[in-house]
Amino acid sequence: MSRAFQPLTIPASAGIGLRSPHISEMLSRRPSAGWLEVHAENYMGDGAGVEALERLRQIYPLSVHGVGLSLGSARGVDRDHLERLRKVCERFQPDLVSEHLAWSVADGAYLNDLLPLRYDEEALAKVARNVETVQDTLKRQVLIENLSAYIAFADSSMNEAEFLVELVARTGCGLLLDVNNVQVSAHNLQFNAKTFIDALPAASIGEIHLAGHAINQVGADTVLIDDHGSRVPPVVWALYQHAIERLGPRPTLIEWDTDVPVLDVLLGEAMWADMLTASIMFSRKQAARGQQTTHARATPICLSVEGETTTSMPVLAAFAAARAARPSTPLALPSLEEEYHAAA
């Protein structure tokens, strides 16, 4: 059954990933949450969750995030699955649709995990063709998300960021910047996280993901596991701050998939993201004003990152990250300020 929903635009502020334990509370309490994101594959049937999402869609702007299209599969995307995704989009009329730069289907098996590509011309041609097929079918732009990875391929001829830049140029797709994924991959594969973010075309980034990760010690190897099972850690808040300083406010999603906490914890994390963004934009505005006047201003109190990690309070982490990395020289970026006011 398809109904017409009022278009609800996803704001450049924080939203939460809708998880089944929270659905009834979302419906009864209708808490203030900027927007919701759901995994497309959970809404391809006709169960009670689908009926609940139809009700929530009337209240909250919606993003549909695919996890099973396997855009990186050499054999192309599964047309039946793509048709199911099209029906989900037709049914819920989301404002954003996204998928991953990854593959999860090969040899007739779905691995239920997102595997990295060998970044080369062959893969680029295939992924670009797959993305075009998806955009043509859905009749809309899709956002493509960077991956968290534990391995890479020795024969790659480019890195993931270069691959994404070229993919945007060839297909006109947008990007979903998963800041936690950048941190996880950068640590595991030994590259610079900020350089990765800076290499992406800012105008194409239509959404950001934030999540927690686990830190596993396997022998001498300290590996970050992208488990979406904890609060956003300070290191990811700091990277988010770097991204927001460069990009300005963007729709930002709090993801939490394992050991899902009570709803208020998710809403709290979303609030911290909004506060951090507001703090960055406020500082930027002050800095721009400071450039125009010669008056000396008081320096804000600077908390050390080490200090607040012991409190486990994300709000402190967020503020400290914002303050610690405050630009030493004022930056004037009027176009980003305009975006912020439009979103506020």
Partner: protein, 261 residues
């Protein structure tokens, strides 16, 4: 250099542990051992799909204990990985797989209970249509053999074993005794989705056949004759009142092409 498709096939087989790991020289992992990192993908696939199966078959888990279930699940995943990413459809073949495990040959109730749990999972993913009441048809001429359409989530299961008794004994609040609750006793079960929960009822042969005919679109007349053949005292009025009362009827109409018996 391997073509992309071959590379992905070999890596997928490594992840599913169907074949020896892919050549380490093809991979990098910073300063770490790439094959050790490959095990993260193997663990992710096995543990996430095991979690899917444990969520679908919670009573089966308790019947065999969790460690054995995890072993059986990992074997099932390795031999029969999902063919598609819609995981609500994964697990259809698991009851049959359990039946083929030698260790479980003296506990047929395990695979049979899994069959019931799979039916529940299917029902939970099926649509719920607004039910019709008997009053809706008071002044409508439906002919002698109307079609009675039932909820799409209706599932009918018959077993030689006491599957519903076992399943009920393991629900919240029930005192579960995993060794004494099962017996060789035929049970016929109808189940369907009501909101976000499932309703299960045990039926006699006649009522089971009656619902079976309706579910398969064979029409009311066929359903009545099947029920009466099994039990001459079959009470049609009670059956119809219960059918409407349970919200199972979604439409009653004159068939366009009446089906022959």
């Amino acid at each position: 250099m391997l073509p992309l498709e071959h590379l992905q096939t070999s890596l997928a087989r490594s992840v599913l542990a169907m074949e020896p790991p892919i050549a380490a020289t093809l991979l990098t992992a910073g300063k770490a051992d790439p094959l050790a990192r490959l095990r993260i993908y193997q663990n992710n696939t096995r543990s996430s799909l095991t979690a899917v199966l444990m969520a679908v078959f919670p009573v089966t888990v308790r019947l065999v204990d969790e460690r054995f279930f995890r072993y059986a699940a990992s074997e099932f995943i390795r031999r029969h990985p999902p063919a598609e990413s819609r995981l609500a459809r994964y697990g259809a073949g698991f009851p049959r797989f359990l039946k083929s495990i030698d260790t479980l040959s003296d506990m047929p109730i395990v695979a049979e209970t899994a069959r019931l749990e799979w039916a529940i999972a299917e029902a939970l993913d099926a649509a719920w249509l607004p039910p019709r009441s008997l009053g809706d048809y008071e002044n409508i001429e439906l002919g002698t053999s109307p079609d009675v359409l039932v909820q799409p989530s209706l599932r009918l299961i018959v077993s030689h074993w006491s599957i519903l008794s076992v399943w009920s004994a393991h629900q919240q609040g029930a005192e579960a005794d995993r060794h004494s609750a099962w017996a060789r006793r035929a049970e016929r079960v109808a189940l369907w989705r009501a909101g976000d929960s499932i309703r299960l009822v045990q039926l006699d042969r006649a009522n089971f056949a009656f619902l079976h005919s309706l579910k398969h679109g064979l029409g009311l007349e066929h359903a009545i004759s099947r029920a009466l053949a099994l039990d001459p005292s079959f009470d049609l009025v009670s059956a119809l009142v219960r059918l409407f009362g349970d919200g199972l009827v979604t439409d009653v109409r004159i068939p366009i092409h009446p089906l022959a018996n």
